[in-house]
């Protein structure tokens, strides 16, 4: 890897784990559940012990889109200025780690009558895998992170990353929009043993797993994949993340 990552620093950080737990939980609560499931709840989250492998592909000026984004936040008389310190790293990120989380839910059997039977289940999500082209940009004390596309689609990025007079720009190419980035994601469900033979329950378990898998992939793509990005603003932090004022 080109970056050495202290994954233990992250996986043991309770604050970080809590904040991921919270946002994942918020997302789960926002899902409109189908009639055969209720009380979907996040029980446990673990970042796992394996770091992603990050290779640097290119170091350039940040994309114009990030400047435009900051500019939109500013008032009319403020103009964002480019600084020679602004930098963007194009990376190849490969993850096949043991990140996992556990959900609890109740499966509902609505036959022969509504809520005829409920069955508590434990759902484990893991085996998350992706191998993508990502960008990490730092400008104006803000960091931007976005998944561009799967590594097999990287020609799309290379074709469309045109060096325009004002900097790099890929927003013009909408083909990159919402390209699928998750390669693998497994969902396993445990239910009480006495119900294993119950056909309709088993059928609903299968349906629930598919439903959750679709929702999660959709969520990750919506939150992380180009033209979406994570934006971290360090302007209010006392100590800057990347740089410290001299003097």
């Amino acid at each position: 890897m080109s970056f050495d990552i202290n994954w233990n620093n992250l996986s043991n950080d309770s604050e970080l784990n809590n904040s991921i737990f919270q946002s994942l939980n918020n997302f789960l609560n926002s899902i409109t559940l189908p009639s055969y499931v209720k009380n979907l709840k996040l029980e446990k989250f673990s970042l796992g012990s394996t770091a992603p492998d990050i290779k640097i592909k290119q170091i350039t000026e940040p994309l114009v889109d990030f400047y435009d984004d900051i500019q939109n936040e500013l008032s009319d008389d403020q103009v964002i200025e480019k600084s020679p310190n602004d930098v963007q790293i194009l990376t190849e990120v490969e993850y096949k780690g043991d990140l996992s989380f556990t959900l609890s839910a109740e499966l509902v059997l609505n036959y022969p009558s509504a809520e005829f039977m409920t069955l508590p289940v434990k759902i484990t999500v893991g085996n998350l895998g992706f191998h993508s082209l990502c960008i990490l940009a730092y400008l104006s004390k803000q960091a931007f992170f976005s998944f561009l596309c799967d590594i097999n689609d990287s020609h799309l990025v290379e074709e469309s990353m045109v060096n325009e007079p004002n900097g790099f720009n890929i927003s013009a190419n909408r083909r990159l929009e919402r390209i699928f980035i998750i390669r693998s994601l497994s969902i396993e469900t445990e239910a009480g043993e006495q119900n294993q033979k119950e056909g309709s329950i088993l059928k609903n378990i299968g349906k629930l797993e598919l439903f959750l898998s679709d929702k999660l992939k959709e969520y990750l793509t919506r939150e992380l994949a180009w033209p979406s990005w994570i934006n971290l603003d360090f302007n209010d932090e006392e100590t800057d993340v990347f740089s410290k004022e001299e003097d």
Binding site: M1, S2, F3, D4, I5, N6, N9, L10, D13, E15, L16, I54, K55, I56, K57, Q58, I59, T60, E61, P84, N85, V87, A143, L232, F234, T239, V241, F242, S243, K244, E246
Partner: protein, 253 residues
């Protein structure tokens, strides 16, 4: 005004018609001084070691995103600067109250320093990601027009608020500065990454070049001047020496 006119008359220098002078004699003397410095530094490994010791001692003062700096190479060059085309003129905007010398300077050499460090990403936890960086910075060409003049401290304004800068108002200073159209050519090598590395990234070169030029420009490019206080040159016994008598067989008397 008439004061300067008298000086020019009595030194037979007409600023309008005097032809530019070569400074060949000066180049030879400067080259000797530089040569001497290089010979002392011939043990340049020693300089590398002492620089590294210095950097290690002061590593606490490094910004939080750097994990120590190690000097891996130091090249002090083997060529000499050539000064030429020297002429005296009235300082622009001085209303003929000041004189200055303008000298062209040209240096083609390789003066290089190699640096090894690690960039740290301190978010969301300290040292979350570490990126090894190898840099070689060399200056290979410097071409500029130098302005030199003498002046009293009362004519100068310090650019920093540091009160220790305030000097003796009656002392004379040698002022020098470069004209903005200077050329400074760098050769910057970079190697970035831990196992798979990226080599010679133009963005890194332009970033470093920008900072070096900014540093230089804020100190030595007009309208900024560097000022060196001139020592007294009145002959004094403590400054008096005699040349060593060199004998072939080195017999002491």
């Amino acid at each position: 005004h008439s004061h300067l006119k008298t000086i020019l008359e009595k030194t037979c220098y007409d600023v309008d018609t005097h032809i530019p002078e070569s400074l060949d004699w000066f180049n030879v003397l400067i080259a000797q001084i530089i040569q001497q410095f290089r010979e002392e530094a011939l043990l340049k490994d020693n300089i590398v070691h002492s620089l590294n010791d210095y950097l290690t001692k002061r590593s606490d003062e490094l910004p939080s995103y750097l994990d120590g700096i190690k000097i891996t190479e130091l090249d002090i060059g083997d060529d000499f600067p050539i000064f030429s085309n020297c002429r005296i003129q009235y300082s622009p905007n001085s209303n003929k109250k000041k004189l200055e010398a303008k000298i062209d300077i040209d240096l083609t050499d390789r003066i290089a320093i190699g640096i090894q460090t690690k960039l740290l990403l301190n978010y969301p936890k300290l040292r979350t990601a570490i990126l090894p960086v190898d840099l070689t910075l060399s200056i290979i060409r410097f071409q500029a027009c130098l302005t030199v003049s003498l002046t009293k401290a009362e004519d100068l304004v310090p650019t920093s608020d540091d009160s220790s800068v305030q000097g003796d108002d009656n002392a004379y200073y040698l002022m020098f500065s470069f004209l903005p159209g200077y050329e400074m050519e760098f050769d910057i090598g970079s190697l970035i990454g831990s196992r798979s590395k990226l080599e010679n990234i133009p963005k890194i070169s332009s970033l470093i070049e920008h900072h070096i030029k900014k540093w230089f420009c804020e100190r030595c490019v007009e309208p900024r001047f560097q000022c060196i206080k001139l020592p007294g040159i009145w002959p004094r016994s403590k400054n008096t020496r005699e040349e060593k008598v060199s004998t072939d067989d080195d017999i002491s008397v």
